[in-house]
Amino acid sequence: MSNPTPNNPTSTRRDFLRYTVAGGLSLAFAVSKTGLVARSLQPNHLFDEAGGNADWSPNVFVTLAADGTLTIIAHRSEMGTGIRTALPMVVADEMDADWDRVVIQQGDADARYGSQNTDGSRSIRNHLNAVRDAGATARHMLIAAAAKLWSLPASECRAEFHTIVHDASKRQIGFGEIAASAATMPVPSNDQLQLKTPQQWRYVGKGKPLYDLQDIIDGSAKFGLDIKLPGMKVAVIERCPVLGGVAKSWNESVVLAVVGVEKLVHLPAAKEPYSFQALGGIAIIARDTWSALQGRKALEVEWDPGKHRNFDSEIQRADLIQSAQHKGTVVRENGDVDTEFAKGGKRISATYDLPHLAHVPMETPCATARVTADSAEVWMPTQTPQSAQRSIAMALRLRPENVTVHVTLLGGGFGRKSKPDYGVEAALLAREVGAPVQVMWTRADDIQHDYFHADSALHFEATLNDDGMPSAWLQRSAFTPIGYTFNPKSKTGSGGEMGQGFSDIPFDIPNLRVENGPADPHLRIGWLRSVCNIFHAFGVSCFADELAHAAGQDPLDYLLALIGEPRHVDLDAMGVQYSNYGGSIVEHPIDTGRLRAVLMRAADNAGLRQGPPSTKELRRGVGIAVHRSFLGYVANVVEVAVTDTGQLQIPRVHIAVDCGLAVHPDRVVAQMEGAAVFGISLAKFGRITAKNGRVEQSNFHDFPVARSIDAPQQIDVDIIPSTEPPTGVGEVGVPPLAPALLNAIFDATGKRIRSLPINQHDLSRDPLAD
């Protein structure tokens, strides 16, 4: 058996090794950045059952059993995007398999799969071609085997719905029947491989029902806390309310007296950089969850809160605003903004600020671990199984290959579950206790010890020409950088963070400067769905609207004029460091034509381009925003109605999205709907504050998220038909919602809210104003 180079990024070799077992074809492949790399080939557990002669190996992605059952490994995490359905569906389509005979298995952490990081809106865009090749390879080998059996040229045979057919002689044979023979066929080379044409697709571009739906609605779906191991203990952990604080003393005997509590474990406090370490604290180990929670109630800890003890988020807000209003590091300059400003003219400026946010997936972080002297096995809802594996191995001083990470379904992720600290906690405790341990985070734990979305301030200045368009535009953002979590010295935004909707601003303005100001983080900062695009898109899209009003122009026409003619924005030529979300800038240019198209589509759907809405009543308004992120383009038109008492209603949201090829359109629609609600949550309510280093919120009463009554009455999603390569989808819908909503509120009420969230402001009708 060959032993291919793992993760060789330069390898373009795609050679499938063959492995014959009684009754089936087992194909292995793993996905690397550049395509498929051959991997080890051991039959998986289906053959254990069918043939009884083989070991389980997760390194097999596709297995075809003699009875025709096609097992496809999902190596990406399911957190609600539908990826566990969508990628296997692509494999099945390229094989022309019968979806009803597909069994999906979740892959464990394994570097040989290539990246499993289910974040950055990457699953489809980075893996589509690879899994298409994989399916096509299997199809070729099945066809070759049938052709050989019939002594016919392979070119006369084809795959159709789980069978290989020869049309002229009307011969056919099922996938399962020919599987064993297919395994002995030569692996087709790259240039022999014929992919289906879009016209031949059965599933791609159409979609299949969610694989997990039935389990979800009958209660049998397994999320993190649903793992139950024999002899398992439950742990809850009291962590220092101030980041990095150390436990000095605690009332151990009192807690041990609580019925069901078996042990207390002191986990040492994490030190900078916090990275994915367990935070530390006092863990209560109990026979069941309720006992652990009761023990926690009885626990009193005296903390040495450490250096973040004085952190006050209100002071940080003021500091960020200061930072954004003063000269920072220039990350992009076109023309000469200062000279243009010096010429005078109508000068407009605005400063915006947005608070820290918590992710609050409905499922709080949790993990279950079983540890021996030289190995560990962990079950967890994680977006990043391999970083969990590495972090756990490091904490336990084991080799990563001796740490098995099983991925459960995720009850939401939004970036929180890309950080595997909770898996590390479970593993450390299981070792300490000598029994399997399940760590559960309460909602308060989740909200107070999150990897928070950065708080930020944004400052804009522009001078307007006689035609009302800006001749010079300055924008500056200051935000607590994610880098701090990994390097305590980090104070400024990285190129990647600035490239999320700021240094890549697509407006056609002759004199334009983008700057970043420093910030001083005191919480773990982490990526949250759409990351820095949240505040960058907010600032840019609100300021564009402010300028339109200052110029006395229609916001839609004005925005289109700002975007300018269809073109590719060439940041390289401007000397801007830009990572383009890891995507190729040739395949995925910053295309203002596509940006314009989604904007016009959403506007048309909303009826904006038939002139101003004729039914415009007082306190009804409409707002627009458009944004490119994760290579995709989304425009929002948000309609609002604001009651006299200041209640905000959202009758309709019109969304147009260009995500390139929509592999599973219904899930694209679902992601846009979900993103709209996510955007409403953060715009209306999202606010984490801290005093004396302690996060002040603890549950949904003081960190509310949108409920049914906050959701739009209607969300219309229009997918622009496209054959371009797929872009990200999961995050793309979030950035434009908040600014479109705030622009709509301005339209309805004349109130320009520049500081989120909305619930910090009074929208009730001012009796004197009417």
Binding site: G80, L213, S220, L293, P361, M362, L410, G412, A670, S681
Partner: protein, 154 residues
């Protein structure tokens, strides 16, 4: 000794803390994990069950409350209302991550079973306002409930 009928089956609990919330009784002691924890304070509806047909947040309801009563969880939710709802959930492909969905269905089933008229979407929204879905499936939940309601009506 607590005697609770769970999904039709009589269960007896001899030495169980009667103040233990039903949520943990179901999850840890009966391994009925379809009822899920999210907030623990009655704020999100994820843990919703029925006790004698009434909507209950199991995270804040002590086991003693159900003594001598009948508990229904998502695993045991059945009947024509539940069937109509599950069918509509399929039709509209409602779930995203799925974590809140058991609670949503328990609330929706109670809503349709106990209302004697066709509900407006505002009425549906306020009846469902106790169930948070962080993934934002609200518009589909609304469509699914409305569709099930029509089917049950005809």
């Amino acid at each position: 000794m607590l005697r609770i009928r769970v999904n039709g089956e009589l269960r007896e609990f001899a030495d169980l803390d009667p103040s233990m919330p039903l949520l943990w009784l179901l999850r840890d002691h009966l391994e009925l994990t379809g009822t899920r924890y999210s907030c623990g304070e009655g704020l999100c509806g994820t843990c919703t069950i029925h006790v004698d047909g009434q909507l209950i947040r199991s995270c804040t309801t002590p086991a003693s409350y159900a003594d001598g009563k009948s508990v229904t969880t998502i695993e045991g939710l059945s009947g024509k209302t539940a069937d109509a709802l599950r069918k509509a959930w399929h039709k509209f492909q409602v779930p995203q991550c799925g974590f809140c969905q058991a609670g949503q269905l328990m609330s929706a089933e109670h809503l349709l079973r106990t209302s004697d008229k066709i509900l407006s979407s505002e009425e549906m929204d306020s009846a469902m306002a106790g169930n948070i879905c962080r993934c934002g499936t609200y518009t589909r939940i609304r469509d699914a409930i409305a569709t099930a309601a029509v089917e049950l009506d005809s």
